[in-house]
Symmetry: C2
Subunit: 239 residues, 2 copies
Amino acid sequence: MPRLDPASVKALTFDVFGTVVDWRASIIREGEAFAKPRGLSVDWAAFADRWRAMYQPAMEEVRSGKRGWTKLDDLHRESLGKIVAEFGIKGVMAGDLDDLNRAWHRLDPWADAVPGLTRLKRKYVLATLSNGNVALLVNMAKRAGLPWDAILGAEVTRFYKPQPGCYLGTAAMLGLKPDECALVAAHNNDLAVASGLGFKTVFVPRQEHGPGQTKDLTAERDWDVVARDFFDLADQLGC
Amino acid sequence: MPRLDPASVKALTFDVFGTVVDWRASIIREGEAFAKPRGLSVDWAAFADRWRAMYQPAMEEVRSGKRGWTKLDDLHRESLGKIVAEFGIKGVMAGDLDDLNRAWHRLDPWADAVPGLTRLKRKYVLATLSNGNVALLVNMAKRAGLPWDAILGAEVTRFYKPQPGCYLGTAAMLGLKPDECALVAAHNNDLAVASGLGFKTVFVPRQEHGPGQTKDLTAERDWDVVARDFFDLADQLGC
């Protein structure tokens, strides 16, 4: 039994990259499909890791106020231009890189995500609480069949996690108090911030970084719910 | 055949009050359910019309900059307090009025709305482009089964229609150019604004104002599509 009273929560809000979708395997798949007709030889696992490593520093420029609001698609595209140069990839047109950038709109969900969310949706409002922009999340959901009730998070609040405004603005748009919302995430640090703001917390471990992953393999605090996957979460919440 | 090329449109964006849901009959139903256990005698049709009549002036205070951003739930609640006094309704607690205010979260869809949207969703991104706030639209969708891909419009753009920012911000969040979006509405004036901003236009007549309705019974311009209802729209768009 979870420590959490399932009836005390109205909405489940979700971290998406890593928690709902396997960004790394998907970017590798997209990279290989991009490389093949172009005869490119690239270590796409290294490429995916490098692209993701530029994610926090890129958002930090926005969070710090160094630059104005910039959606994640645009941050991803800027990072992509740099990585392509770093990896010595030559002769690729800007339009082709725009398409490769939209690989982030085509990430595949973990196997339990769609059926698990479908069960959870019967009882709870399901919303994204992601740093992804709306178009990215809408296109991802449409392709993968993710049954969100609302696409919320960074772009609609104009705050990137872990800025409090991203969590609190999402709860406010749902018309809920923070403690009527749970954050579901595969990242202990995301849950720590949410918990500090009054959210309930659900940890689901995911091996998003591949075989070399060392962090976030287990719950580092006594989160309200720790679930093996979204099926186990649905079981624990009585869905 | 519609004048519109169905393949040129990526997203259908929807006016909601009147176009998707029958606000007037629903408010009358909610009012009657509210009155019965309290022994109140109220002309709920007149009450519904009065509440709706205060909608545009209330938003105009926000649009004009006279007051800061205020979500529709709060505007509805302020109007409700005034109407209750106007109608001489006495002895009702503020908390009960808060619940009556959430009648706008419980509006019923027109009979063709859910099955029609379900067909349209197979081919198009479906988003709200409504002055309703996110919680109102999410709760309405959850109760009625409206299969939105995204809840957009006023609250996420911080502009009330007919301010251009509401339409253009919604398209931008979908990652689309205005002419890749169609507005579906039962209101000629809403379509005129959207058309001027580059949106494609779909008119669906609805008798939302009841038997006394005189305007918006027919298309007043040569909109891209004129459909009898959402079934006819799905037929015309090949869904």
